[in-house]
């Protein structure tokens, strides 16, 4: 197989990792919402944690994006 083609395929496969990040981020927001609806008074104090958790989870999706970039442009 051509190396360039293999890189493209590899980059495409790497983007599948974003599905995991999507699951994680949606899980965080879903749990935050259900918790916030049960106890709305405590919700505003936890938005910092929400954003923080979202950023931590999203970073893992970004890593797969990075792998795709490296495959396309660097490797």
């Amino acid at each position: 197989m051509d190396v360039e083609a293999a890189k493209m395929i590899g980059a495409g496969i790497a983007t599948l990792g974003m599905a995991g990040a999507a699951l994680g981020v949606s899980n965080i927001f879903a749990n935050f919402l259900s918790g916030a609806l049960r106890n709305p008074s405590a919700a505003p104090s936890q938005t910092g944690n929400l954003i923080f958790g979202m950023a931590m989870t999203e970073a893992l999706g970004i890593f797969s994006f990075l792998v795709a970039l490296i495959l396309l442009f660097v490797a």
Binding site: E4, L69, I70, L72, F73, V74
Partner: protein, 213 residues
């Protein structure tokens, strides 16, 4: 896409070049807390010597310039923030907090003063009331004492007068009673004189005394 030339720098240093390049950056001592010491070990793996079509963020040829200018600008930012901007904002915030605290304390002091004034007013009022009551009680007592004294005087006066009057009455009565005999004698004498002629007053007197028994 990959074959496109993104980097506009004419030369792309080789790996050895870059190592010396980064070391040179260090030699210039850009900043005391420059973290680039570890950078080249982390990014060296991505090097692709000889490629002129690298993805710009992964193009090592631009690293020294970016690091230098980042160090300069971030150091400048840090100095400007820590020496100029932040102390000013911080002092403004502190001043405001101090003013708010002082105003609150002044308001508290004023309230305490007001409370004290109210308390002293109430105390004075209570004192005045007590004084007024005592004055009223005193004057009532004085009046009552005066009254009692005057009544006592009047009563004794009255009693002496009454007893004097009684004595006079008794005197008059006895006097009157004494006159009754004489009147009876005179009457009897007159009556007898009309009927039987003149009688001696002594015999009449004896007869009256006899009748009177």
């Amino acid at each position: 896409m990959v074959t496109q030339a993104y980097a506009q720098e004419a030369e792309t240093p080789t790996e050895e070049n870059l190592d010396t390049a980064i070391d040179a950056t260090h030699g210039e001592g850009v900043d005391a807390h420059d973290p680039t010491a570890d950078t080249h070990t982390g990014t060296e793996a991505h090097y692709d010597d000889g490629h002129s079509d690298v993805f710009p963020p992964f193009d090592p040829a631009t690293f020294p310039s970016q690091l230098l200018w980042l160090a300069i600008s971030f150091a400048a930012l840090y100095l400007l923030m820590s020496k100029v901007a932040l102390p000013k904002v911080g002092s403004t915030l502190e001043k405001r907090q101090a003013t708010i605290d002082a105003d609150l304390a002044a308001a508290d002091a004023d309230r305490q003063k007001t409370d004290a004034a109210i308390a002293s007013y109430e105390k004075a009022l209570a004192e005045a009331k007590a004084k007024a009551q005592s004055i009223a009680a005193q004057s009532r007592d004085a009046i009552q004492a005066d009254l009692a004294q005057k009544r006592g005087a009047a009563e004794t006066d009255l009693a002496t007068k009454v007893s004097a009057a009684e004595a006079r009455i008794a005197e008059t009565k006895t006097a009157a009673l004494a006159h009754v005999d004489e009147i009876a004698v005179e009457t009897a004498q007159a009556v007898v004189g009309q009927i039987v002629g003149t009688v001696s007053p002594d015999s009449v007197r004896a007869a009256v005394a006899k009748v009177k028994g």
